[in-house]
């Protein structure tokens, strides 16, 4: 190859040569409620197992936090195969919330995470409001949990399987009930598959949530044109990966304008540059999901990449970056429609 160019694609971003340099190490600490995250990079639920599978690659103590796979009251087998398929720049999944259940999680996963000095956020999934409360109450009996992230993209069995996450009063109710049961950090994880995610974020803020996680997966589908069958067992599935990043970023922007509580930005973050986009738009923390399937160490690499960016831009703290979007150059126009 002429002038063979090898660039590590993860955690890399174009650095301008003429940047002012600073010898100060920037602070990357973020505090939400009573939890201090040593850096703003968390692993996304369902994409890092229980945080114990990648020991040989990753020191979980170096992550902002580990967000667990969604934990439910009972163990769940998950959906039948095919559960995943790759599409352009992304993937569909239909894992079916396969998990060991809250009891096994608390007895055999949590202690190991604590041993490894992980900051642990427990993600909870349920099919009724009572089940959400049950799982959280069981967790409250244990030490070593920093906070909760609530996955509301679940079918409400009492309501014929209608998704909690697309029904604002349900999300408000879940927030209210859980808020009454914990003084730990409570983040509500919102689905992007709604007309106005701002409305949901406002409802969460109103009911006392400490943060909103934006976003869970988008609804997607793929078909095998030879068999003419859906490529995943549940026909439609959850779409994630770099392909969703522009939409996730737009959702964070929408929510940022609507609420004052911190936002946890999620969706297609593959490298430090992507994470920085979310922070600039207004996310206080970010989560890395699908990227971990390609590089299980992406979370820590991204945290280091953010640190590099901060010192190269002479910023003393990541807080200077958060919400620093500069729209002063944008024309003041009533959006005229895009197309």
């Amino acid at each position: 190859m002429p002038g063979c160019i090898v660039v590590r694609f993860l955690a890399s971003f174009p650095i301008r040569q003429s940047q002012r340099h600073s010898s100060l190490v920037a602070s990357t600490e973020i505090t939400i409620r009573n939890v201090t995250f040593k850096n703003p990079v968390l692993t996304a639920s369902g994409t890092f197992g229980y945080g114990l599978e990648c020991e040989s690659f990753v020191d979980v103590a170096e992550l902002g936090a580990v967000v667990t796979k969604s934990i439910s009251r009972k163990p769940r087998d998950g959906n039948p195969p095919q559960r995943i398929c790759e599409t352009t720049g992304g993937m569909l999944n239909s894992i079916g919330l396969a998990n060991v259940g809250v009891d096994v999680f608390l007895s055999s996963k949590l202690p190991l995470l604590r041993e490894r000095n992980a900051t642990v956020v427990v993600n909870i999934a349920a099919s009724s409001v009572e089940e959400y409360c049950y799982v959280l109450e069981r967790c409250e009996e244990h030490e070593g949990i920093a906070g909760y992230e609530i996955n509301v993209s679940c079918p409400n069995v009492k309501d014929g399987g209608l998704n909690f996450g697309t029904h604002c009063p349900s999300v408000a109710q879940i927030t209210r009930e859980l808020r009454g049961r914990t003084s730990k950090m409570l983040a509500m994880k919102l689905t992007p598959n709604v007309t106005s995610i701002a409305e949901f974020a406002r409802a969460c803020e109103g009911e006392g949530a400490d943060a909103v996680s934006c976003v869970n997966t988008f609804v997607g589908m793929a078909v095998d044109i030879h068999t003419r069958r859906p490529k995943i067992a549940t026909i439609t599935g959850g779409y994630s990966g770099p392909a969703i990043k522009p939409m996730a970023l737009a959702k964070v922007y929408e929510v940022r304008k609507a609420v004052n509580i911190p936002i946890i930005g999620i969706g297609g973050i593959m490298n430090a540059a992507d994470a920085i986009e979310f922070l600039v738009v207004g996310a206080t923390l970010v989560q890395v999901g699908t990227a971990l399937f390609v590089d299980p160490a992406a979370g820590t690499a991204i945290a280091r990449g953010i640190e590099t960016y901060l010192s190269e831009h002479g910023m003393a703290s990541v807080r200077e970056l958060i919400g620093s979007l500069d729209t002063s150059m944008q024309p003041s126009l009533i959006a005229a429609g895009w197309g």
Binding site: C4, F48, E86
Partner: protein
Amino acid sequence: MFQETVSILHSAQVAENVYTLEFVSERIAHATLPGQFLNLKPDDSFDPLLRRAYSVHRIREDRIEVIFNVVGKGSRILAAKEPGDPLDVMGPLGVPFHYEGEYGTAILVSGGVGIAPMPILGDRLLALGKSVVNIHGARTAGMIANDGRLTNPIFATDDGSLGFHGNVVGALDAWLHDHGASNVRLFACGPNRMLGALGEYCNARGLPLEVSLECQMACGIGICQGCPVEMATGNRKYTLVCTHGPNYDINDIVLDSIPSVH
């Protein structure tokens, strides 16, 4: 389990739509056991996005070889690699073949690129003092990647253009007829259809058969739960092919639960 950017040493087309890649990784070469696989990132782009799993084909000192068909985006990019090109490799992954034990002859049955894990397995078995026979089937002679290094090969082709005229089950039957079926153990890799037919054959005769499965994977290391196959036994419904497999006793799993790739 390591993640490393290696440099391609050798790349070649070795049969109709069969390609090999060779590269050096001391750590991975030393850690790999027969039946394990590697997860390769075709290139730095996000299209394709995910790694692709390939069985370790051969290891010589610190040199690792994989062998593959070009079927889609990932394998097409891999087939175009040249010596000196970088390659991001993760491995070794999965549970090795369960090849230890008291038996005299190992029969390694493979279809098409299912040949992939057999040479490294054969070498290890020879070192353990087992007899090894390779029964390898393909549609036609031109699709057989025969580098002359396979131990005791018996070839079977659908069109009779090389070796036994018929499939690997027929070739196996002929071999057992001549050599007897006592004290053998079978290891197989290939299309699910082939594994199913082989399973029926072996179960009818009480022959132990371990199969190496293929299925779509996102992570290859147990963090996505994307690669289940149904279990026929035990108290869990699914097993994850990437971390509990890909090598299973045929009777432990429900082969049909994996959608077959065409």
